[in-house]
């Protein structure tokens, strides 16, 4: 795929908007620098602020393939980097045995029914590239330029972070049986974290760091209008304002952009012309996802939360 590098952060911002993602200045600058300097971009922020979708939008805006690695505890090299296709290798070996001489007995008896075979050649054919299963990290190295999303790295354990360190500085991987595979150009890497634990400094030091904020109400209105053209501007404004106030309530799970979109969509589906306390409470399940949080919101009162919104 052709790699299209925007000339400035503003141009990247416009390209991202073209894909339906509206970044703020900081995020656009961060993304542009990541592309320009070939540095991984480390994005932290609350769940639902659009870290993962930023990587998808970045790929779409630059015309690059998106390769995603979802992290979890226990993620190891065989799942993240590469693995040998053992069943096919064994099958290959058995085929050798069936059609040719038995490779292991060449020295002893000079072969079986067929001509003598060089055991080294057999072994080399076993560790051929076609028996190598490329997992996301290796796939990204081989198909660069591309966007590699390493999602929720805080869910993986320290051992995995150590693998990443090497990969992100050398853009290469050494496979003992096959040799070194080097990326033709470094892939654009986006690492995201919800900060459920502190990721090691050494990893962050190799990256550009950006803390992703919830969008301000004006930008959220723009996002809602872009994603849900059927929703009235008034409803979009009300939902954006109410969502912003919900975020200030210090909830355990502050509503993200996806929740705001769901909320507006639900209100639209119910045929609500505007956001009232009654209809807000009925549709609360789309934005407030915890019983404790809902109690907190009700204690605070929907009326207070929506005050000044009837205009």
């Amino acid at each position: 795929m052709a790699r299209h590098l925007p000339d400035s952060p503003a141009e990247l911002s416009r390209a991202l908007a073209g894909t339906g993602y509206l970044p703020d200045t900081g995020l656009a600058t961060a993304g542009w620098l990541a592309l320009r300097l070939d540095r991984p971009l480390f994005l932290e922020g609350d769940a639902g602020v659009g870290k993962t979708s930023f990587a998808a939008a970045l790929a779409e805006a630059t015309g690059l393939e998106l390769i995603r690695l979802q992290c979890y505890e226990g993620l190891d090299l065989a799942q993240a980097l590469y693995d040998w296709d053992f069943p096919r290798q064994v099958l290959h070996l058995r085929t050798w045995e069936a059609v040719g001489s038995r490779p292991g007995r060449v020295d002893a008896a000079g072969g079986g029914s067929g001509p003598p075979v060089d055991p080294a050649a057999v072994e080399a054919s076993l560790y051929d590239r076609r028996f190598l299963l490329a997992r996301p990290l290796l796939r990204a190295l081989e198909s660069a330029p591309c966007v590699l999303l390493i999602d929720e790295v805080d869910r993986a354990d320290d051992e995995f972070e150590a693998y990443l360190l090497e990969l992100l500085s050398d853009w290469a991987v050494s496979i003992p049986e096959l040799g070194r595979i080097v990326a033709p150009v470094p892939p654009t890497v986006v690492v995201t974290s919800n900060r459920t634990r502190e990721v090691h400094d050494a990893l962050k030091r190799r990256c550009l760091y950006h803390w992703v904020e919830h969008p301000d109400p004006e930008r959220e209105v723009e996002i809602l209008k872009l994603r849900l053209p059927e929703v009235t501007a008034r409803l979009a404004r009300q939902v954006a304002r109410a969502t912003a106030r919900l975020r200030d309530l210090d909830l355990a799970k502050a509503p993200g952009i996806a929740e705001a979109i769901d909320w507006a969509r639900a209100l639209h589906a119910l045929g609500a012309g505007g956001l009232t306390a009654e209809v807000a409470d009925q549709t609360a399940g789309t934005v407030v996802k915890l019983r404790e949080d809902l109690e907190r919101v009700r204690e605070h009162g929907w009326d207070t939360l929506l005050a000044g919104d009837s205009a």
């Binding site: 900081g26 300097l37 226990g74 064994v90 919800n194 355990a252």
Partner: protein, 370 residues
Amino acid sequence: MSGPADPLVWVQGFVAALRRAGVPVAQDRLPVLVRALDALGPGELYWAGRLTLCATPEDLAGYDAVWRELTGGRAGRGSPRPRVPAVRRAAAPLIAEAARPGADRAPGQPPAVVAARASTEEVLRHRDLAGLTGEELAEVRRLLALLAPATPLRRSRRRRRAPAGRVDAHRTMRAMLRGLGEPVRLARRRPGRRPRKLVMLLDVSGSMAPYADGLLRFGHAAVRVRPASTEVFTIGTRLTRVTDALKLRDPDTAIRAAGARVPDWRGGTRLGDALGAYLRQFGHRGMARRAVVLVCSDGWEGGDPAPLAAAVAWLSRLAHRVVWVSPHADRPGFAPTAAGLAAALPHCDELVAGHSLAALSELAELLRRG
């Protein structure tokens, strides 16, 4: 232009100011900053620096403060103001008695006999921490630092090679290839072990003041044993994370550093609010999940106990175990009459005492058993 004529000269001063303000700028970041500046142009110094020199939300707050100071209030173009938990550095001298010389002894107490050290230790072990002064206090603190409170290991999701367990297909196949396709010995693997997380929530309100020092030292010992999987917070009228301070090696220095962070030392109690804040900011996001949580408090709740009960119930749904440590639990005739404690107890797995060295040793033993 947000910067002056020669950005590089200015950057040097800026980086020095950042370091003075406590933003740890590593030397190897500077070439990256220069490249970023080169790519973006000198007018974008704010973003170039912010994206390359910072590594945590706390760094961002320090960065923005230094930037405002040096540029006279302009915070870069359209920069969002990060909502970052501010590092609270309110002064609250914690070590009141710690610095006192050993000779200072309460009247009526016998002088310590060095020869009878072992038996003194035995007596000291059971003495209430609230009544200790001078040499005895110093001795108890020394012994507290020797405790190694640690949780048992839990099964990890990562499997490791083992002589027994489930068949490890990959290694078996690899061995088969070496054996020219002949099935050889089966390789096996089973889940590895990882330390279970330990979270200590320590009440530092007025009524807990005599015990807070001892419990904080217990926390310090726990952080020293497992720095990566232990977290310590103080709760009172607000929530303060003191884990970083407790990572300092020397107990006295660590306790002093932790005390300097706690703004509500010996203040009132709003346990429900503080616990709720912990759950919303840290616990629910992952820190309390599958962890052993110690709530160290006498359970005196200033306000309505209902929020505290709700918070502890929430905590117990997230945590592996909730252990309530009350300094009064061992007293003869103790009954959980404090309104907060009575409300919280139904949701706790265990109620233990934490008033003496012996009680804290038992607590460490309880943690080890899991």
